[in-house]
C-alpha cells in the first residue's frame, strides 16, 4: 500500500472528490498559484481551473458567507481557512449562519459545506497563530467537527465530509501535515461519528484527537516499555462524538486520561470526562485526568513555547499519575 504524507492524502481526497462531483469546488487564500500555505491544494488549479479553485482576497467573513450561499444553491464548496485562528473573523458566518440555516428555515434549505483549517502550535508562531479552539465549534449544535490523526483517516474523512450534507469543520494540524502513513489507492471513506482504537491496551485509556493522538501513541509506546498497557482512542470525530467506543474502552481499563492540543478548561476533554463519569460511574478506578495546552496566549520564546504545548513528557506524567492514583494492582511482584 502506498505511503504518503498527511497533506498529500488531503490533496488526493480533494482531487478525487472534485473529479467525482462537478459541484465540488475549493475556495480560499493562496490556494492557486501559491499552491496553498501548507501545499494541500498543490496542482489543483492546473487540473481544475480558476472557477473550481477560487482564490479569494483576505476576507474570511466574506468568502465563508460565499461558501454558505453557494452551498444553499446546491454546490459543494470546500472553504480553506488558512489557519484555525483566522476563522475568528468569520465566526458570525459559521455559528450564526452555517450552523443554523437548516434549522431556522424549518429544514427547507441546507448548507453542505466543508471548512478545512489547521489548528495547532509549534514553530514559535506566537499567540494569535497557535490556537486549537475546535471545541467551540463542537459545542455548537448544527455543526459537525472532524479531526483525523493519520493520512489514511485524513483522506477518508475528508471525502466523508465533502459528501455530507451538513456544515463540517475539518480540523487539520500544523504539525501533522508531514506525518507519514499508508493510504489506500482509490475511493474509500471513513465514517463520521466513529472513533478508532489505533492501540489496544488494558491499564489505561487515553482519548485524544488530531496531533494529540500522534503524541499519545508515542507515550503509549514508552509506557509499554515499563510494562504499562495503554489503550489509545483516536476520536476522529468531535461532533458527533463516539461515546460508545470511549465507554467500551474505559469499561475495560477503568482509567481515563484525556489529551488535547487546546485548552482543557471547557475543552474537548471536559466533554469526554463528563460523559464518561455518567456512563461509567461505578467502573472508574481513578478520577478522570485531563491534559492539554497551557492556558496562556502562546509565548514566543522557545522554552516558554515548549512549556506551553502539551508535549509527550506531560502526557506521560499524567498517564503515570492516573495509574498511580488508582493504586494499580500488579500482576507480578518480582
Amino acid at each position: 500500500m502506498p505511503e504518503m504524507l498527511f497533506r498529500d492524502a488531503l490533496t488526493q481526497a480533494l482531487r478525487e472528490e472534485m473529479q467525482r462531483d462537478e459541484r465540488v469546488f475549493i475556495m480560499g487564500e493562496e490556494i492557486g498559484r501559491f499552491e496553498g500555505s501548507y501545499k494541500v491544494t498543490r496542482g489543483l488549479i492546473n487540473e481544475f481551473g480558476k472557477k473550481r479553485v477560487r482564490e479569494t482576497p483576505i476576507a474570511e467573513e466574506g468568502f465563508m458567507g460565499a461558501g454558505i450561499g453557494a452551498a444553499m444553491l446546491g454546490l459543494r464548496p470546500v472553504v480553506e481557512i488558512m489557519t484555525l485562528n483566522f476563522i475568528l473573523v468569520a465566526m458570525d458566518m459559521v455559528i450564526n449562519h452555517a450552523a443554523k440555516i437548516r434549522y431556522m428555515f424549518g429544514g427547507e434549505v441546507q448548507v453542505p459545506m466543508v471548512i478545512r483549517t489547521p489548528g495547532g502550535a509549534g514553530g514559535q508562531l506566537t499567540a494569535q497563530h497557535s490556537q486549537s479552539f475546535e471545541s467551540w465549534f463542537a459545542n455548537t449544535p448544527g455543526m459537525k467537527v472532524l479531526a483525523p490523526a493519520n493520512p489514511h483517516d485524513a483522506k477518508g474523512l475528508l471525502k466523508s465530509a465533502i459528501r455530507d450534507e451538513d456544515p463540517v469543520l475539518f480540523i487539520e494540524n500544523l504539525m501533522i501535515y508531514t506525518e507519514r502513513g499508508e493510504v489506500p489507492d482509490g475511493d474509500y471513506i471513513v465514517p463520521i461519528g466513529v472513533a478508532a482504537v489505533p492501540r489496544e491496551g488494558t491499564d489505561l485509556t487515553i482519548v485524544s484527537h488530531s496531533y494529540a493522538t500522534v503524541r499519545a501513541l508515542r507515550v503509549a509506546n514508552r509506557l509499554a516499555q515499563e510494562g504499562l498497557s495503554a489503550e489509545v482512542v483516536d476520536l476522529r470525530s468531535l461532533r458527533p462524538l463516539d461515546v460508545e467506543t470511549i465507554v467500551n474502552s474505559v469499561r475495560k481499563t477503568h482509567r481515563l486520561l484525556c489529551v488535547e492540543e487546546g485548552w482543557p478548561t471547557y475543552g474537548v476533554s471536559a466533554e469526554i470526562a463528563a460523559r464518561v463519569q455518567k456512563a461509567c460511574f461505578a467502573e472508574l478506578d481513578a478520577p478522570v485526568e485531563r491534559v492539554g495546552g497551557a492556558e496562556v496566549p502562546m509565548p514566543y520564546a522557545k522554552p516558554l513555547e515548549t512549556a506551553a504545548i502539551v508535549n509527550e513528557e506531560k502526557i506521560y506524567q499524567a498517564a503515570r499519575a492516573v495509574l498511580a492514583e488508582s493504586g494499580m494492582l500488579a500482576r507480578g511482584v518480582s
Binding site: R251, F281, A282, A324, E325, G327, L329, A330, V333, S334
Partner: protein, 422 residues
C-alpha cells in the same frame, strides 16, 4: 363581526397598562390609523390606533383603568354591523386572555433516565465484588468497614439497585459485626490512615529521584538473619499444633516479624501519593501483600492486620487465602488494602533477590532461603541457618538509614522469636 379592542401589548416587557385618555367617545366614527386612546406602559405613554374603519360602539374600560394585556376595553362595530351593546358590561371580567404564542413552548418532557445504568461488562464469575454495582465512594467505605459488598448487590438505593454510601452506612450500623473470617479480630476503630505531607527536603528528594528513575526510585538493602532460633520455635509450635491449617510455615514467622517491625517504622507501611505536593499515606492497619503462585501467574493476596494476629491465626488465614487463590475463587477483598508486601522465593532455593515495589506501596521484602552456612561468631567458625532478606524501599518515602533501621529491627525480632509469640 364587531372588533374587540383589547389592552394592547406594546412592548416586550409590558404585562399591564393604564388607559390615561380615550381620544374617541362612544358613538364616534373611527378610521383605520386614528388613535383610540393613550396608554401608560412600563416604559412610556403610548397610543393605540384603530386597525379598522368603524364606530366605537362601547367603551368597556374608561380613563384611568388599569388592566392586564388582552383585557377587552372597547368594542368597534365595522361598517354596516349592528351590535347589541348590552352584551358587553362595562368593566366586565375579562374573558380568558388570548393564547400568548410568545410564551416559551413547554420544553420537551424531561428525558426519562436511561433505563438502568449501562450494564457492566461481563467479568469472570470469580471477581464477584467488582460485579456489584456500587458508587466509588460506597466501595471505599465498604472496604474500610470490612463490609462484603456482595451482601448488598442489587439492593442499593441508587438507580438499578446501585449501592451507594447510605446503603453502606446503614449496613454497617445494623450489622452486628463485619463479616468475619474465623479468628479474625475486629479491625481497628478510628481513621484508617493519616496523610502526611512530605517536608521540603523530602519533596526535593522525591522530585529529583523521580526524574532519575521513573516511578518509585528503589533502594535495595540486604540483611542476613540468623534463623536458628526462629526455626526451633517453628518446630516446637508445630509439634503442639493439631490441625493442619494452623501449622506454621517459616513465612508466617517472617510476616509477623515484618508486621511488628512496621509498627515501629511506619513510613514503610504507607502509600506514596503523587501530587502537588506529594503525600505519604501512612496506614494504621498493617495488611501484608503476599506473593503466591497461581495458575495464571503470580498472585498477590492480602492478609490483614498481621501485627494483631497470633502466629497460628496468620498461618490459618494465609493457608485459606492461598487455597482460595489456587482454586480460583478469591474472596472479594482478598486483593484489597495491602500496605506492605512480602515475597518469598526461599522454597525455590533462591538465596537472595530484589523485588519490585507494587505502587503505590513504598516497600517490599524479598525473602531468600534459610540454609546452613559457615559463619564467624566470636572469632570461631560456626554453622548457622542464614537467611537473606532484601528490602526494596521507595527512596521518596524512606532514606537508606531508615530502611536499614527497619531491617535491623526485623532481624532482631526474627533472631529473638519469642517476641513474635507474645
Amino acid at each position: 363581526m364587531p372588533e374587540e379592542i383589547v389592552m394592547p401589548r406594546l412592548s416586550d416587557t409590558m404585562t399591564e397598562g393604564t388607559i390615561t385618555r380615550w381620544l374617541k367617545k362612544e358613538g364616534d366614527a373611527v378610521k383605520n390609523g386614528e388613535i383610540l386612546f393613550e396608554v401608560e406602559t412600563d416604559k412610556a405613554t403610548l397610543e393605540l390606533q384603530s386597525y379598522h374603519d368603524g364606530t366605537l360602539v362601547k367603551i368597556l374600560m374608561g380613563d384611568g383603568s388599569t388592566a392586564p394585556i388582552g383585557t377587552p376595553v372597547g368594542v368597534l362595530a365595522k361598517a354596516g354591523e349592528e351590535v347589541d351593546v348590552s352584551n358587553y358590561a362595562s368593566g366586565a371580567a375579562p374573558p380568558p386572555a388570548e393564547p400568548a404564542t410568545t410564551s416559551a413552548p413547554t420544553p420537551p418532557a424531561a428525558p426519562a433516565p436511561e433505563a438502568g445504568t449501562p450494564k457492566p461488562q461481563a467479568r469472570e464469575a470469580t471477581a464477584a465484588a467488582e460485579d456489584v454495582k456500587a458508587s466509588p465512594l460506597a466501595r471505599v467505605m465498604a472496604e474500610q468497614s470490612g463490609l462484603d459488598l456482595r451482601t448488598l448487590a442489587g439492593k442499593g438505593s441508587g438507580p438499578g439497585g446501585r449501592v451507594v454510601r447510605q446503603d453502606v452506612e446503614s449496613a454497617a450500623e445494623s450489622a452486628p459485626a463485619p463479616v468475619a473470617r474465623a479468628g479474625q479480630s475486629a479491625g481497628p476503630s478510628g481513621p484508617d490512615h493519616e496523610d502526611r505531607e512530605l517536608n521540603r527536603v523530602r519533596q526535593a528528594i522525591a522530585r529529583n529521584l523521580a526524574l532519575s528513575k521513573p516511578g518509585a526510585p528503589h533502594i535495595y538493602l540486604t540483611m542476613e538473619v540468623e534463623m536458628d532460633a526462629a526455626l526451633a520455635l517453628y518446630k516446637q509450635v508445630n509439634e503442639l499444633v493439631d490441625d493442619e491449617q494452623s501449622r506454621l510455615t517459616v513465612n508466617d514467622l517472617v510476616m509477623k516479624a515484618t508486621a511488628l517491625a512496621l509498627r515501629k517504622y511506619t513510613d514503610l507501611n504507607a502509600h506514596f501519593i503523587d501530587g502537588k505536593p506529594p503525600k505519604l499515606r501512612v496506614f494504621n492497619r498493617i495488611n501484608l501483600t503476599v506473593a503466591v503462585p497461581g495458575d495464571q501467574g503470580l498472585m498477590v493476596p492480602v492478609v490483614k492486620d498481621v501485627d494483631k494476629k497470633s502466629l497460628s491465626q496468620i498461618a490459618r488465614e494465609a493457608k485459606e487465602v492461598y487455597g482460595r487463590i489456587r482454586s480460583n475463587k478469591p474472596a472479594p477483598d482478598d486483593f484489597q488494602g495491602g500496605t506492605f508486601a512480602v515475597s518469598n522465593l526461599g522454597r525455590w532455593g533462591i538465596d537472595e533477590f530484589q523485588a519490585v515495589i507494587n505502587p503505590p506501596q513504598v516497600g517490599i521484602l524479598a525473602i531468600g532461603a534459610a540454609a546452613p552456612q559457615a559463619v564467624v561468631r566470636e572469632d570461631k567458625v560456626e554453622i548457622r541457618s542464614m537467611m537473606r532478606v532484601t528490602l526494596s524501599a521507595d527512596h521518596r518515602a524512606a532514606d537508606g538509614v531508615y530502611a536499614a533501621d527497619f531491617l535491623v529491627e526485623l532481624k532482631r525480632l526474627l533472631e529473638h522469636p519469642l517476641g513474635l509469640v507474645i
